[in-house]
């Protein structure tokens, strides 16, 4: 759909987009991982810009990371060392997995941006002391960022930011719902681009662009053709490969939901309207579906995936992992078992920087989809 064009354009060339914003005098703070409190960055008047792997061949990063490190981490460092991220006024590293942890060190020592923040969140999210520690950590980030950008971040500014991001999250969720209800009205590739570009686009513009997309879809949904593809759910960390959606669709299936941090985990749960905005932001991280690098019980992720699959009436699940991603690889066997027990078929695809050849992928997906 044409409303998705501007999202595709950003994804195609995030660097130019970032540089353009910079030229307009914006402060830009890069971040990794969906545990970054974008609300605080936005409240400080800066623009939160999610950093993904540069997608280029690894050249500079090889001098810092061994080959057994995930492509997201290596690719992100590559982008920075190649000078593509020169528009950043700072970078924020929430603590999650061992690889991101070391990325932060290596970035601090080699990229040397003007502002470097570690947000060392608790690893467990299910105790009271962890909650109050998380609030402490967020407060500290708020203070550090404000002093670095020489601004004041008031509670009112934060509440306003929370409102903006809640609106964005609601819109993205609505987009997913529309797709799940009428899989034919928008392609998977478009949905992918919209969600991912939402993490880079100017948020004030985004709050207008998203409703425009949704408005179009709401209009279309009444007379949309019934889509016959088999319904599947994707699960994993990050998806960096838009082509997957098309190949899946060609194989006769359609992605109706996901459990990605660049997907549903990004928009699930809103920040409550608390008196203390820091406590409210922390509350959302505690409530929302957990990433495998964090702990909120030993069955939570399996149960959540099962719930998604059932609610969305999925016939199968495709696990999509980055190679060398430990947290996801550890959870895979039990999550698969959860699905097996309920008779939901699944397949697993592990990708490195590049996707396997299209022919190979096509065969794998076709075999899987035929089985559903």
């Amino acid at each position: 759909m044409k409303e998705a064009d501007e999202f595709h354009a950003i994804l195609k060339d995030p660097v130019s987009y970032g540089r353009k914003m910079k030229e307009q005098g914006r402060k830009i703070v890069g971040y990794f991982c969906s545990y970054t409190p974008e609300e605080i960055i936005y409240a400080a008047g800066a623009h939160p810009f999610r950093i993904f792997a540069s997608g280029e061949n690894i050249h500079f990063a090889d001098a810092h990371f061994q080959s057994y490190c995930c492509s997201l981490v290596r690719g992100a460092l590559e982008g920075a060392l190649a000078g593509n991220l020169d528009f950043l006024d700072g970078a924020v590293f929430p603590h999650t997995c061992d690889s991101i942890q070391r990325l932060s060190d290596i970035w601090r020592m080699n990229v040397k941006g003007p502002f470097h923040a570690d947000i060392v969140l608790p690893v467990k999210l299910d105790t009271e002391s962890a909650r109050s520690y998380m609030i402490d950590v967020l407060r500290k980030f708020r203070k550090d960022l404000a002093s670095h950008l020489r601004v004041e971040i008031t509670d009112d500014m934060l509440k306003n930011a929370i409102g903006t991001f809640n609106t964005i999250r609601r819109s993205l969720k609505r987009l997913y719902e529309l797709k799940a209800e009428n899989p034919g009205i928008i392609s998977g590739r478009d949905v992918y681009a919209i969600v991912k570009a939402s993490m880079m686009m100017d948020r004030d513009h985004l709050t207008e662009a998203l409703p425009a997309v949704i408005g179009e879809l709401e209009k279309k949904k009444g007379n949309a053709e019934l889509y016959a593809g088999k319904r599947i759910v994707l699960a994993g960390g990050i998806c960096n490969h838009p082509d997957i959606y098309r190949i899946i669709e060609d194989a006769g299936a359609v992605v109706v939901w996901d459990d990605f941090c660049t997907g549903s985990r990004y928009f699930e749960e809103s920040v409550k309207d608390n008196a203390d905005p820091m406590a409210a932001i922390a509350g959302r991280y505690i409530e929302r579906p957990v990433c495998p690098a964090k702990h909120a019980g030993i069955f939570t992720r399996g149960e959540n995936l099962l719930k998604i699959a059932k609610e969305k009436d999925a016939r199968g699940v495709v696990f999509l992992f980055l190679k060398f991603c430990d947290p996801h690889a550890f959870d895979y066997p039990y999550m698969k078992e959860f699905l097996d027990r309920e008779g939901i078929p699944s397949m697993m695809l592990e990708v490195e920087d590049q996707l396997p050849s299209e022919g190979q992928l096509r065969t794998r997906f076709e075999t899987f989809v035929d089985m559903l």
Partner: protein, 421 residues
């Protein structure tokens, strides 16, 4: 406790006798044998068993008379007895990726088949996971908590990229109280705080002794090698906080001092001194030690075994419990790469080494990612060469003997040239 069958009593008496016997001789092998026998018979002797991560706070367990068992130590034993590859393959057939930590992989597989050199670890009554070494242990212990269906306590020590923050201290300190409550519930009795104090004292003393043992290799020739340290390490890891450790390391220290006084080196003709970085390549330690000795090179120190005595400066002798928070949070693997590099530089100076051998360990990301930067810093600051060996601590499939051998030869050539052989 229920009445125990004759045979069990007999068995227990036998262990006690063995223990007494070995107490005099204090050989590592026997101490470990008794330790594992005691742990494996815990169920019949009515004691509880906790599985705990290698960097975890063990003192409260000892004080509660819980037997601590270390899956990582077990992993090292599996690796050293060359049984790791089979178990790793087994875990892969269970769906675990071959890129995961091989301690975790072999332990997860071993639990289901009771394999390995000692027929598996005793079933845990509880799991204590401290993430000061990595994020892998969190996932690994979650797997075991599902498998054994026992309570899991997560002792969360936030990573210290730079410095040690006030809020971290507050958080970790409050978890110490939660930990004690957890143990009291699991054991159905109160913690005896005097006993805990006593255990704390012993733990600190043990760590200081271990430090002193390792420091003897600053002498030339070094009275022992890092390969010896890998071997003697087992006690400070597993039995820290007990008198046994004190006895053992006191004797070892005397022996080393004596060797230093008499100028006896660990290898026949020590010409070159090297520092080791990362976990040993367990199935290949002997090969590697012979290989280096053939070049008259001695691994005099390492960053690995010193991790169990690296934070004594944060421990308050008179307030062990409170100071555990900082000491357990600021360990070697839980700090930034630049701080690690500083520690490596200190070791280079203290042990007067001519080069560094770095094991780029596919299993262990927190230890290995960052090594390239440390290598560059050392080469720049001290001008000594670093050799990078890519391998795995347990899984032999990642080890190529011919390749490593050639690289060591080339590396030693450089060192010899620089030293003017």
């Amino acid at each position: 406790m229920n009445k125990m069958p004759e045979i069990v009593l007999f068995f227990l008496a036998k262990i006690k006798k063995l223990a007494l016997h070995f107490k005099k001789k204090k050989k590592m092998k026997e101490i470990m044998m008794v330790y594992y026998m005691e742990a494996k018979s815990a169920r019949i002797s009515g004691r509880k068993v906790a599985w705990i991560t290698s960097g975890g706070p063990v003192e409260p367990l000892i004080a509660m008379d819980v037997i601590p068992v270390y899956p990582e130590n077990h992993g090292a034993m599996i690796g050293a007895s060359k049984m790791g590859t089979d178990l790793c393959e087994k875990s892969e057939s269970m769906g675990y990726s071959s890129d995961l930590c091989s301690y975790a992989r072999s332990d997860i597989a071993c639990a289901t088949v009771n394999g390995g050199p000692i027929g598996g670890l005793p079933r845990p009554d509880m799991l204590i996971c401290c993430n000061n070494i990595c994020g892998t242990v969190l996932k690994w212990y979650e797997v075991q908590a599902r498998y054994f269906n026992v309570p899991l306590f997560i002792f969360d020590t936030p990573f210290c990229h730079v410095g040690y923050a006030e809020e971290v201290q507050r958080y970790v300190r409050s978890q110490l109280d939660e930990y004690v409550l957890f143990l009291e519930k699991a054991c159905g009795k109160k913690m005896d705080s005097d006993h805990l104090k006593a255990v704390g004292k012993l733990s600190l003393e043990g760590q200081r002794l271990w430090q002193a043992v390792l420091a003897t290799t600053a002498n030339s020739p070094a009275p022992m090698t890092a390969f010896d340290a890998f071997y003697h390490l087992a006690l400070i890891v597993t039995l820290r906080g007990t008198p046994l450790v004190i006895d053992y390391y006191t004797q070892l220290l005397e022996k080393m001092k004596d060797r230093v006084a008499r100028g006896i080196g660990a290898i026949p003709n020590e010409k070159y001194r090297l520092l080791w970085d990362n976990i040993p390549i367990w199935p290949r330690t002997r090969w590697l030690s012979e290989k280096l000795a053939s070049h008259n090179a001695c691994l005099v120190a390492d960053t690995y075994t010193s991790a169990w005595c690296g934070t004594t400066k944060y421990i308050d002798e008179n307030n062990f419990f409170d100071s555990m928070a900082e000491a357990y949070t600021r360990i070697y693997l839980n700090i930034g790469v630049d701080e690690m590099a500083r520690i490596v530089l200190e070791m280079v100076d203290m042990y007067k080494v001519d080069g560094i051998v770095m094991h780029s360990n596919r299993s262990c990301k927190p230890y290995s990612l960052g090594q390239y930067d440390i290598q560059k810093i050392v080469e720049k600051e001290r001008g000594i060469p670093c050799l990078m060996i890519e391998a795995d601590m347990v899984d032999e499939r990642s080890f190529s003997e011919s390749q490593v051998s050639t690289r060591i030869d080339a590396f030693m050539e450089i060192i010899k040239e620089r030293k003017g052989a």
